[in-house]
C-alpha cells in the first residue's frame, strides 16, 4: 500500500479563537503526487469530498477559450469508465447528498456532501472521473451544445456581463488572465474532442490535484480508501505554467462602453493590488471590511445612505486569480450620479489616507472579518472548498497550508498605520482602471 510512502503532516496548532471550525487538519501526499487534506469534525454523520484541479481559464490557449468550462460540464454529466452519464449525480442524490462544481479562472473544484457511510462511494466516483472521463464524441457534442446555449442565454439576459468581460480585459491586460471563463462562441464552435482530451490529460492528473475531506470519518479507513481508489492513477506531470507579470504604467485610465443589456448606467473601478501571500495582501483583505463588506462599511454608508442615496447598487471586493490580486468596485446609478459615485469612492479613500482608522472601526472590521471566515467554513462543504482554495493560493504564493490556516491570526494583528501605507500605494487614481457603462 502507498501509505508507507505518505508522511502524515499535522498542521501547526492554531489558536482556538482563529479557526474553531478548522481544527484537526492533516495532510499528506500519495506516491503519484496527489495531495490529500483531511479535516475531522465529529459533530454530525456527514462528510464532504472535494477534488480541486489547478486548471482554469487562465490555462487556456488563444483560440481554445471555453475548454476549461466545457470540461467541467463533461466531468459533471458525461460519466466515466465505470459510471454512466448522470450516474454520479444520481448516486449522490439517492444517498441524500448534494454535489456541485465550480470552474474558476485559476482552478476547478468538484465537491459533494453525503452521509458519512457513503464516503467510499464518493471517493470511488471521484477517482473514476479523474482516471477515465468518458470523452465520447456524443458526450462532447452534448456538452458543447449546452455551453453554447448557456452562453447565448447569459449574453442576452445577464446585465453587465459583456461589460464585465471588457473590464477584465482592461484590468488584467493579458490574454491568459483577461479573457472570460465562459469562452468565445467562435472558439467553442471550433473546439474538438482532442482539444478537450489534451486539456484533461495535461491538467486533470494527481500531480495537479488536491483531494480534501471534511466531516465525520475514520482516519485510518479513509486513508486506506484513498490509497485504494487514487494511488494507482498515473500521476502525470504537474503542468508548468509560468505567467509573465505585466508591468503597468501608473497613470489614470478610463474607457466607456455600451452594454446592450445594461439596465442602468454603471461604472467599474479596478485597482491592481499586491499578490496573495504578501503582508500587503492581508491588509487589503481587512481593508475590504472597512470599505465594502457590511452595511455600515464606508462605501456602503456613503453611496447607499438612506438620507442621501446616490447609487442604486454597490458591490465588489478582492478578486484573486492565481498570483494576481485586484480590488473591484461596481456601481449602478442614474446617469447624473455616476460621476458623483466615482468621486465619492475616491473621496472616502482620501479621507482614509488622511486620518488613521479609529480603534473602534478597525475592531469592527476585524470582527466582521472573523464572522466572514466562520461563515465561509460553516459546513463541511464550505470547509473542503476553503481548504482546496487555500491550498492552491498558498502554493502559488510559495507558502504552505499552515500559512493559509494561520492567515486569520495575522490579519487580526494589523495596525492602522499599516493600512494607511497600503492605501497610499495601491488605492490611488494612478493605479485605477475605470470603465463607464452606458445603456445602448
Amino acid at each position: 500500500m502507498g501509505l508507507a510512502a505518505a508522511v502524515l503532516v499535522w498542521t501547526a496548532a492554531l489558536s482556538a479563537q482563529s479557526l474553531p471550525l478548522m481544527t484537526g487538519v492533516s495532510h499528506y501526499t500519495l506516491r503519484n503526487g496527489l495531495t490529500v487534506i483531511l479535516q475531522e469534525q465529529a459533530d454530525l454523520p456527514v462528510v464532504s469530498v472535494a477534488v480541486g484541479y489547478n486548471a482554469g481559464s487562465i490555462h487556456e490557449l488563444p483560440g481554445k477559450t471555453g475548454v476549461a468550462y466545457l470540461l467541467e460540464k463533461l466531468m459533471m454529466f458525461a460519466g466515466s469508465a465505470n459510471v454512466s452519464p448522470l450516474e454520479h449525480i444520481s448516486d449522490i442524490n439517492r444517498a441524500g447528498g448534494t454535489l456541485n462544481a465550480e470552474a474558476l479562472e485559476d482552478q476547478t473544484l468538484y465537491y459533494q456532501t453525503i452521509p458519512s457511510n457513503h464516503l467510499a462511494m464518493a471517493l470511488w466516483l471521484e477517482s473514476d472521473r479523474m482516471r477515465t472521463l468518458d470523452l465520447s464524441p456524443e458526450n462532447f457534442e452534448k456538452a458543447r451544445t449546452d455551453l453554447l446555449e448557456e452562453l447565448r442565454n447569459r449574453r442576452t439576459s445577464e446585465p453587465f456581463l459583456a461589460s464585465l468581460q471588457t473590464f477584465d480585459e482592461l484590468l488584467y491586460s493579458d490574454f491568459s488572465f483577461g479573457h472570460s471563463p465562459l469562452g468565445l462562441e467562435s472558439d467553442i464552435r471550433n473546439l474538438t474532442v482532442e482539444d478537450v482530451r489534451a486539456f484533461y490529460d495535461a491538467f486533470y492528473v494527481p500531480q495537479n490535484a488536491v483531494l480534501c475531506i471534511s466531516g465525520r470519518f475514520d482516519r485510518v479507513r479513509t486513508r486506506e480508501l484513498i490509497a485504494r481508489y487514487f494511488e494507482s492513477i498515473p500521476g502525470g506531470k504537474a503542468p508548468v505554467t509560468a505567467f509573465e507579470e505585466p508591468t503597468f504604467a501608473r497613470v489614470p485610465f478610463s474607457r466607456t462602453v455600451d452594454d446592450p443589456v445594461a439596465s442602468a448606467p454603471a461604472v467599474f473601478l479596478g485597482f491592481r493590488l499586491a499578490p496573495p501571500g504578501s503582508p500587503q495582501y492581508r491588509i487589503q483583505t481587512l481593508l475590504d471590511f472597512v470599505l465594502l463588506k457590511g452595511r455600515s462599511a464606508r462605501l456602503n454608508r456613503r453611496l447607499l445612505n438612506r438620507e442621501a442615496k446616490i447609487a442604486y447598487q454597490l458591490s465588489g471586493g478582492i478578486e484573486r486569480r492565481d498570483g494576481r490580486t485586484v480590488y473591484k468596485v461596481f456601481i449602478i446609478a442614474s446617469p447624473p450620479q455616476i460621476q458623483a459615485c466615482e468621486d465619492a469612492v475616491f473621496n472616502e479613500l482620501d479621507k482614509l489616507k488622511r486620518t488613521f482608522l479609529s480603534e473602534a472601526e478597525i475592531a469592527k472590521a476585524k470582527t466582521l472579518y472573523r464572522q466572514d471566515v466562520y461563515k465561509r467554513t460553516a459546513t463541511s462543504t464550505d470547509r473542503v472548498i476553503f481548504l482546496a482554495q487555500a491550498f492552491w493560493m498558498e502554493r502559488t504564493a510559495g507558502g504552505t497550508l499552515d500559512d493559509a490556516l494561520a492567515e486569520m491570526d495575522r490579519i487580526l494583528k494589523i495596525t492602522p498605520t499599516e493600512i494607511t501605507a497600503v492605501l497610499n500605494r495601491y488605492y490611488v487614481r494612478e493605479n485605477c482602471v475605470v470603465l463607464y457603462v452606458q445603456m445602448k
Binding site: 474553531p20 471550525l21 459533530d43 454530525l44 454523520p45 456527514v46 469508465a81 465505470n82 448522470l86 449525480i89 444520481s90 448516486d91 442524490n93 439517492r94 444517498a95 441524500g96 447528498g97 448534494t98 456532501t113 453525503i114 452521509p115 458519512s116 457511510n117 457513503h118 464516503l119 467510499a120 462511494m121 470511488w124 466516483l125 477517482s127 473514476d128 482516471r131 477515465t132 442565454n153 439576459s157 465525520r216 485504494r228 481508489y229 494507482s232 457590511g294 452595511r295 455600515s296 454608508r301 445612505n305 438612506r306 473602534a360 475592531a363 469592527k364 470582527t367 466582521l368 472573523r370 464572522q371 466562520y374 460553516a378 459546513t379 463541511s380 462543504t381
Partner: protein, 481 residues
C-alpha cells in the same frame, strides 16, 4: 525441482488472478460501486425548554464548538394575522425591525449589530414573523440588548412606513420578473381563496394601504411575549440563556388574549388551469398544487416520502418522465409544505414552451398513477433512504439547528421532526404512501403556468379552459377551447 514447479504453478495462478482482476485494464474494485457502511447514528442535542414569567417560551439547543450564536424569535403573527383590509401588514412589520429604534437610528443599529459580528434578517410567512439574528458567541449579552431594544422600542412612524413600502415594492417588482415567484404567488392565492392564508399572496397594490396606525395596532396586538417563542442555539445552556433573556426582556408585557388558530383550509372545488404571460421568459414554469387539511399522525412522513418519490431528486418520477424520457423539462420538483393549519402539496416543472400541454398531461398521469397503484417497496425504500441521508445534511451548518428548530416551532411541531425524524421515516411503507396519495392527490389541483404566451399559444388552446392572469394576480380573461 518439485519445489520450483510448485513455485511456477503458484506464479501462473497469481498471474491468472491478476489478469482476471485487471479485466478491462483496470482493478476489479473499479467496476462496482462500493456499498455503504451501516447507517451512522445521528445523535441530536435535546430541545430544552422553559417559559419565562411573562409567558415567553424559550427553546435552547446546545451546539458544541459553534463560534456563533443564533437567536431566533418567532412571533405568531404571520400574514394570516394581517387584517383583511391590509394584507401584507405582517411583511411591513418585519421590515420595521430594520428601521432603527426610538433610541437609535437605523444606521446606528446597523453599526452596533456589525460591531458584534452580527447579521439580522426578518421575514413573514403565512403563520409567523421570523426574526433571525446571528452573532459571534462572546456577544450574547449585547445581542440580547439589541434585540430587546428593537422589540420594546420600535421606531414606527409615517417615514419608516414609507421606506418599507418602497423597499417591499421594489423587491416585489424585481421578483415579478421571476416566473417561479409569480406562479407560486398566484398558486398560493387560488389554493387558499377565502382562507386567511390567502393574504400571504398579497400584491404590490396592497402595499399602498399600509399606514403607521395600522402598523402600531398590529404591533401592540401581536408582538407580545405570550404570542412569541425564542429559539437559541450555540454554546449556551438553558439556565444561562433563560437568565439572560429574562434580564433583557423583563419589561416586555404579555397581553391578555387567546390566540385563535386559523381554520383548516378547504381543497379547491375544481381543477383549474391558469396562465401568466411573461414575454421575457425563455421557458414555461408549471406550478401545480392542492391543499392539505390538518393531518392525522403518521401522514406527514408518508407525504414527505411521496414528495420525494414524485419529484424530490433526479431519481424521482417527474424527472425521469419529463426530462429523461420525454425531454420536455429542465428541472422538476415536488414537496409537501406544512403550516400551523394544514398545508399544501405542490410540484414544479420548468419546460419548453412548445410542450406545455403535454407536460401538464404527463404530470397528471404521474399523479393518477400514484393514487391507483402502490409504489414498489424498492422505490419507497429508495425515497426513504434519500430523506434519511439528507436530514443530517440540512443541519450541517453551525447555525442550522436554530433555523430548523425555529421552523418546527413556527409550524407548532416538536420532537417528531427532530429526535424522532429517522424512526418516523423508517415507519413509512408503501401502503401508507398509497393511502396518503389517494386521500390528498385525488383532490382537484390548481395549475399555474408562467411563460411567454406568444410561444405557447397553440399549447394553451389544448386545454378546455384557461384563466389568464397578469403578473400582479388580476384575472385578465378566460380562454375556452
Amino acid at each position: 525441482m518439485k519445489r520450483s514447479l510448485f513455485r511456477a504453478a503458484v506464479g501462473c495462478g497469481a498471474a491468472v488472478c491478476f489478469l482476471a482482476a485487471m479485466a478491462g485494464g483496470q482493478e476489479r474494485f473499479r467496476q462496482r460501486i462500493p456499498p455503504p457502511d451501516p447507517r451512522p447514528e445521528l445523535r441530536l442535542p435535546r430541545l430544552e425548554t422553559v417559559t419565562l414569567t411573562n409567558g415567553l417560551p424559550i427553546t435552547v439547543v446546545y451546539r458544541e464548538g459553534a463560534p456563533m450564536t443564533s437567536l431566533h424569535l418567532i412571533f405568531y403573527a404571520g400574514e394570516q394575522a394581517s387584517p383583511d383590509k391590509t394584507p401584507g401588514l405582517a411583511t411591513l412589520v418585519s421590515g420595521i425591525f430594520g428601521q432603527g429604534t426610538q433610541l437609535h437610528s437605523a444606521a446606528d443599529m446597523e453599526e452596533r449589530i456589525e460591531s458584534i459580528g452580527g447579521s439580522m434578517s426578518v421575514s413573514a410567512d403565512q403563520d409567523v414573523i421570523l426574526f433571525a439574528f446571528h452573532f459571534l458567541e462572546e456577544y450574547l449579552d449585547e445581542a440580547l440588548d439589541l434585540a430587546a431594544e428593537m422589540i420594546l422600542q420600535p421606531r414606527i412612524g409615517d417615514r419608516e412606513v414609507k421606506i418599507v413600502q418602497s423597499l417591499v415594492s421594489a423587491e416585489m417588482a424585481a421578483q415579478e420578473r421571476n416566473p417561479v415567484f409569480t406562479a407560486h404567488r398566484i398558486l398560493g392565492r387560488l389554493l387558499f381563496e377565502g382562507h386567511p392564508y390567502e393574504k400571504f399572496a398579497f400584491n404590490r397594490g396592497a402595499i399602498r394601504n399600509w399606514t403607521s396606525r395600522d402598523l402600531q395596532e398590529f404591533w401592540d396586538r401581536n408582538i407580545r411575549p405570550n404570542n412569541a417563542q425564542v429559539v437559541l442555539t450555540g454554546m449556551v445552556n438553558i439556565n444561562a440563556a433563560s437568565r439572560k433573556i429574562s434580564h433583557a426582556l423583563n419589561l416586555w408585557r404579555p397581553r391578555d388574549f387567546t390566540p385563535v388558530p386559523p381554520p383548516p383550509p378547504r381543497p379547491p372545488e375544481r381543477t383549474r388551469i391558469c396562465f401568466i404571460d411573461l414575454p421575457q421568459a425563455g421557458q414555461c414554469t408549471i406550478c401545480a398544487g392542492t391543499v392539505l387539511p390538518p393531518l392525522v399522525p403518521g401522514e406527514r412522513f408518508a407525504l414527505l416520502t411521496l414528495g420525494q418519490l414524485l419529484g424530490g431528486s433526479i431519481n424521482s418520477r417527474l424527472f425521469l418522465n419529463l426530462r429523461e424520457s420525454k425531454g420536455y423539462a429542465y428541472e422538476t420538483r415536488s414537496r409537501p409544505e406544512f403550516y400551523r393549519a394544514g398545508g399544501a402539496f405542490s410540484l414544479e416543472a420548468i419546460v419548453r414552451p412548445e410542450v406545455v400541454a403535454a407536460s401538464v398531461r404527463e404530470i397528471f398521469s404521474e399523479i393518477r398513477l400514484l393514487t391507483r397503484e402502490a409504489a414498489s417497496s424498492t422505490e419507497i425504500e429508495e425515497s426513504k433512504f434519500t430523506l434519511l441521508g439528507g436530514f443530517p445534511l440540512q443541519l450541517d451548518r453551525f447555525d442550522a439547528y436554530a433555523g430548523y428548530v425555529a421552523n418546527l416551532r413556527a409550524a407548532g411541531e416538536g420532537e417528531d421532526l427532530w429526535s424522532r425524524f429517522s424512526e418516523n421515516v423508517l415507519d413509512v411503507d408503501s401502503g401508507r404512501v398509497l393511502q396518503a396519495a389517494q386521500k390528498y392527490l385525488s383532490q382537484p389541483f390548481i395549475v399555474v403556468i408562467a411563460g411567454p404566451r406568444e410561444w405557447c399559444r397553440e399549447e394553451l388552446a389544448q386545454f378546455e379552459e384557461v384563466d389568464v392572469f397578469d403578473v400582479r394576480g388580476q384575472l385578465v380573461e378566460t380562454i375556452r377551447k
